[in-house]
Each structure stands twice: as structure tokens, then as C-alpha cells.
Amino acid sequence: MLTNELAYSKAVAYIMSLLSWDKLNFIYNFVLANIVYGVIVIIGVMLFVVIFGWVERKVMAKAQFRHGPTKVGPYGFFQNIADALKLLSKENFIPESADKYLFVSSIVFILAILLFSMLIVPFSGGIYAVDLSVALLAIFVLLSVLPILIFVAGWSSGNKFGSISAQRSIIMMVSYEMPMLMVIAAVALAAHSFSFFSIVGAQSNMYFAVLMPIGFVVFFIAMLAELERPPFDIREADSELISGWLTDVGAPFYASVLIVDYARMLLGSLLIVLLFFGGWQGPFLPKVAWLLIKVFIVAIFIIVLRATYVRMRLDRLLRFGWLWLLPLSIINLIWVYFFMVWGVIL
């Protein structure tokens, strides 16, 4: 008996030593905290989707002398939730000619990649999941997967409009990806780092939008193309291709595509603010508030563009990308280089 008890207590001690407080702490720190943070981010993104879905409808309505949603909730705030519920209650239709698994999984992957890239972006000095030293590069690797996934979705939908949209997606990617990377190179050069914290820290004296106005404009235009916002909504051109790659997407997946749309807009505005407008820096208010205010302003500007611009043509975008954006981004890179070499001395 005694030996048994001894063996038992030894085993317990061994197991306890395995689950020591340090190790529990480790599990908590690196797994649980990230899961909790991930859930919080997803909830935050959904909140943004709801708020911005409403803001966009209201701003568009004001621009067009309409009222916008008024019935569901105060000032129609919950209209988008009602719409999403309606979409989710509908039958999930997948066309017979579609490659079922590719079609469904590509849309799921698009959403997953967007939410995943949210984890890399910090929301303030204290709110972040991981501080990667190559965060900026990682984000753009993830973002450049999106057009390919859209290509897969459009191509596998078995619809001619979808396949045209898929081809357009790839051609668009060719036109805006290069200038964008050039601007990112300039930003990294100016901040001496690919980490968002260093980039925001480097802007404590001067916003990068002031340091490199050309780069900012190029990045903003390329970002609009990345986000499929007008005037570059060439992929899902509703008056030409009905809805492009979304033409045959059934209602429940369409609801998730709406989330993708706004999550992408959040990511785009976040990147613009972090790279060019000093991120969460600002006096008096809490840091997160500053970040959100700036994101809000950028996003509203993108919405106003939607209300006023007509759609650009694909070949024009290609020409615009290679003849204007790329040379301008290279000029910007050279300018930043000379500024870094001599500007500090001056």
C-alpha cells in the first residue's frame, strides 16, 4: 500500500511539475491569449462591418438626396443585420456547372485570409497579436493571394461573366501590385523596418504622407484597386458583368462576401493610416480612438469616391498602372532615399 501511495504521490508530483505555473503561463500567453485576441478581432471586424455598412449606405444616400435605411433600429442602424439574416435564411445555391469544392472553399479562404491578416496589424501600442519584424511584407503577401483566390472563385463558378471577372482580376493585379510594393519599399526605407511599430514610431515627427506625398497618392490609388472600390471596381462591375465573380454566389456565401468587402475596406484604411498618417499617434485621446478616427475619415473618403466616380476601363487601368503609378513610385523611392541620406543632416 505504502509503495503504491508513494508511487501515486510521485506521479502526481511529476504531473504537477509538468504543468508548472510557468508552463501554464506559457500556454496562456502564447495560445490562449492569441485565441482570445483573435475572437476579439473578429468581433471588432464584424462591428466595423455593421457600422460601416450603415455609414456607407447613409453617406451614399446623402450624396444622392435620399434617406437611406430608416426603418430597422435607430436611423436604420440594424438594416445590414436584417439584410444579412435574410441572406442567411435563403437557400445556398451552387450552380451545376461550378466546380463545387473550389467555388465554396475559395470564398471561405478569402474571408479567412482577411481575418488572418487582421492579426498581424496592430491597433495601438498595446493591442496586437504578434509583432512580426516582417509584418508589412507578410500583409502584402497575404493581400496578393486575394486576387488569385478571386480568380479561382470566378473561374470555378462556371459562369462566363465570372470567368471574365477572374481574368480581369489577374490583369488588375499585374497593374497595381508593383507600384504598391515600390511604395512599401520606400516606407520601409524611411522607417528602417518592416515592423508596424517602428513605422508608426518613425512618424512621430512627420507623417509619411507629408514626407512622400507622391508615394501616398500612388499607394492610395493602388489600395483602391486592391479593395475593388470605384473607380476600380472592374472585377465586379455591376453594369457590365452583372456582379463578376459574385454572379453565381448563393445567398449565404454572398453574406460572407459582404463581410469580406468591408473587412477589406477596414484593412485597407488601417494600412493607409498606419503607413502614412502616423497610426495611433495623437494628443489627449486614447491611442485606439485616434486610430479609429483616422480609419473612419479615410473610409468615408473612399465612400465619397464611390458616389462620384465612374468606372475605369481595364486596359486604361493597366496603362495607368505601368505608365504613371510605377514611374511615380520609383521617383518616390529615390526621393525617400535622398531624404534619408541628406535630409537628416539638413
Partner: protein, 364 residues
């Protein structure tokens, strides 16, 4: 690259109704556009043969739901010519006012839908619909109906312009003139808008004549032909009407022509209201009993908002024996294939928008 056939319509966001286009594309370049029409065919010409002269007006209005006034006026004047009825002088002025107001309304609708077609998210559409609504209210004031008026009568109109109509019209015209200037600045200062329309869908002078297009499409190709001046009906020459002509031949020229026409119509309405004589504008009652046709057949042409409309009527006793309609939108649609060959697929909708089609008019 191999050629692909794409079916666009009859249910598609920018075919304005039930137009079906089978487009053959090579990559992004259009090789051929084959319009399939007839989804909205009502057989108006045949229907007209079994109804009395004045009963047909309601059918004629539905030929073009964007400009019903113009079509009913064309029909009524054909009957007038057949029966040998003179239009009263004041009624001529009243008709000019109503027709030109209708033309502005129709062109405003076109402007909004064309901006939609080239990818603006309904902003211009909402703005122009707002302006159009003011005109529709004026027309409602004058005729009693908002969309399908049935107010033309033989020799005049159903009722004279109401009291206070002139002041309201001046106010509305001022407002529309102001907003037209704004739209012009807004659109033409937008480089993306300009490059979507300029050098897109070029229709040369010779081909415009060969294809028989009329209206703003013809005048956009540099041909100075407007029925309002060339046939000189009503008081158009007296009111100093000058047709708007552009020489570009592309979608932008057609856009410019329509913008100028709206300006011209505004000044025409103002002048007609100023010079309108006092007197009687009422026509014969709609129950036309014992009408005796003076002539065996009659043909009348009018400048409708979409082009030259023509009606040919053979007389029976109480009803037309035969009615043939030349629908301007139908003939303008025939030019689509020619114009859009070699263009990009995205340009097809800019061209379609600049042709300003109404499918009810095409299908009859």
C-alpha cells in the same frame, strides 16, 4: 485567342429593359454584336387597326414610356393630317411647351442611366431623376397625369395650361438650367468619365447616313438635320430653334448633343411661354363621332427625343386601315453592331447608353 460568345440579357442591369445581345468577343475585343429583340412586342400597329382614331392614343404613348408626350403628339398630328383639321394657334405654342418639357425629361433620364452604365453608383441617376420629377410635376399640372398624359386632341389639347403654370415653369427651368451646368462641370472635369466616352463608339458621317440613324446620334456625327427645323412644324422656326450639332461622332459627341439640346429646349420653352398668344387651345372632344377622312393616307414626321419618328396611316372610316410606325430607337439599335466592333467589352455599355434606347419603342 479563340472567340467566345457571351449572352447579355434579356435580364441584365444595363440593357434598359429586355434587350438581348449575343456578343462575340476575342479576348476583350468585340467582334460582333447581335441584338435579339421582340421580348416586348405588343403588336401596336395591328392593335391600332381595330380601334377608333382617338382610342389609339393610349397605345401610342406606351411606345416610349420615357417620352409618351412626343409619341402621342406624333399620332394625333397624323390623324389631324388625315382628317384635315387645323391646329389652333395657341395650341401650337402649348404643344411646343409640353413637347420640349418632355424632351428635357427624357434626356435627363438618359443622362442618369448612361452614367449608371459606365459605372457610377446611381448618383447621377438620382440627381437627374429628381430634376425629371420636377418636370413630371409640371406636366401633371398641365395635363392631369404624371406619366401617360392622353391630353392631345384633334386641333388642340385636352385643356389649356392652368393658371400659374408659367411661373412654375420658369422656376423649374431655372433650377434645371443651374443643375445642368453643375452636371456638366462635374462630369467633364472627371478624367475617367471623359476617357470612358471619348473616341468610344465612333460613327462616321457616311456610316451615320448609311445606317439611317436619326436624332442626337445623327447630329453627333456632324450632320445638321433636325426635323424640327427641316420640316418646320409648329412654331419652331419662329421661336428661333437651332439644332445642336457635334462633329466627333463618338459617345462623347452624342452626350454633348443631348446636353446642348436640353439647353435649347429650355430656351424654347421660355420663348414659347413669352410669345404665347391669348385665346383658345382646346381641341375636339375625344369622342370623335362621324369623322370623315379628307385624304386617303397621311404621313407625318416629328423629332422625338430619340430621333426622327414617322407615322404612316391609311384611312378607313372610323379607324385607321393601316398604321405603320418608324421607331427611331429601332433604327438606332441597328447601328450598334457597326459602332461597337473592335471596341472593348466594357465600352459596349457606354455605346449602348449613348444610343439611348427604349425597348418599348424598338419592339413596338
Amino acid at each position: 485567342m479563340s472567340e467566345t460568345k457571351i449572352n447579355i440579357g434579356p435580364i441584365h442591369p444595363s440593357t434598359h429593359g429586355v434587350l438581348r445581345l449575343v456578343v462575340t468577343v476575342d479576348g476583350d475585343t468585340i467582334k460582333e454584336v447581335e441584338p435579339h429583340i421582340g421580348f416586348l412586342h405588343r403588336g401596336v400597329e395591328k392593335l391600332a387597326e381595330s380601334r377608333m382614331y382617338m382610342q389609339n392614343i393610349v397605345y401610342m404613348e406606351k411606345l416610349d414610356y420615357a417620352a409618351p408626350m412626343a409619341h402621342q403628339e406624333l399620332y394625333v398630328s397624323t390623324v389631324e393630317k388625315l382628317l384635315g383639321i387645323e391646329v389652333k394657334e395657341r395650341a401650337e405654342y402649348v404643344r411646343v411647351v409640353l413637347l420640349e418639357l418632355q424632351r428635357i425629361a427624357s434626356h435627363l433620364l438618359w443622362l442618369g442611366t448612361m452614367c449608371n452604365d459606365i459605372g457610377q453608383m446611381f448618383s447621377m441617376f438620382m440627381w437627374t431623376m429628381r430634376d425629371r420629377d420636377m418636370i413630371l410635376r409640371l406636366l401633371q399640372e398641365a395635363t392631369g397625369q404624371r406619366m401617360f398624359y392622353v391630353n392631345m386632341r384633334l386641333g388642340g389639347v385636352n385643356r389649356d395650361l392652368p393658371a400659374g403654370f408659367e411661373d412654375d415653369t420658369y422656376k423649374v427651368l431655372d433650377s434645371i438650367e443651374h443643375s445642368l451646368g453643375e452636371y456638366k462641370d462635374f462630369l467633364e472635369s472627371n478624367p475617367v468619365f471623359m476617357e470612358r466616352l471619348k473616341n468610344v463608339g465612333v460613327l462616321s458621317r457616311e456610316n451615320a447616313i448609311r445606317l439611317g440613324v436619326t436624332g442626337p446620334v445623327l447630329r453627333g456625327s456632324g450632320i445638321d438635320y433636325d426635323v424640327r427645323r427641316n420640316s418646320s412644324y409648329y412654331k419652331y422656326t419662329k421661336l428661333g430653334f437651332r439644332p445642336a450639332v457635334e462633329t466627333g461622332g463618338d459617345s462623347f459627341a452624342r452626350y454633348k448633343v443631348r446636353m446642348k439640346e436640353m439647353q435649347e429646349s429650355i430656351s424654347l420653352v421660355r420663348k414659347a411661354l413669352e410669345e404665347m398668344p391669348k385665346g383658345d387651345a382646346l381641341g375636339l372632344p375625344i369622342k370623335l363621332i362621324g369623322a370623315v377622312p379628307k385624304e386617303k393616307e397621311a404621313i407625318v414626321k416629328r423629332e422625338l427625343p430619340r430621333g426622327e419618328g414617322m407615322m404612316y396611316m391609311v384611312a378607313d372610316k372610323q379607324r385607321p386601315y393601316r398604321l405603320a410606325i418608324r421607331a427611331p430607337a429601332f433604327i438606332n439599335l441597328a447601328a450598334l453592331d457597326h459602332i461597337s466592333r473592335g471596341q472593348r467589352l466594357a465600352d459596349l455599355f457606354a455605346i449602348l447608353g449613348s444610343l439611348d434606347l427604349v425597348m418599348a419603342d424598338v419592339d413596338k
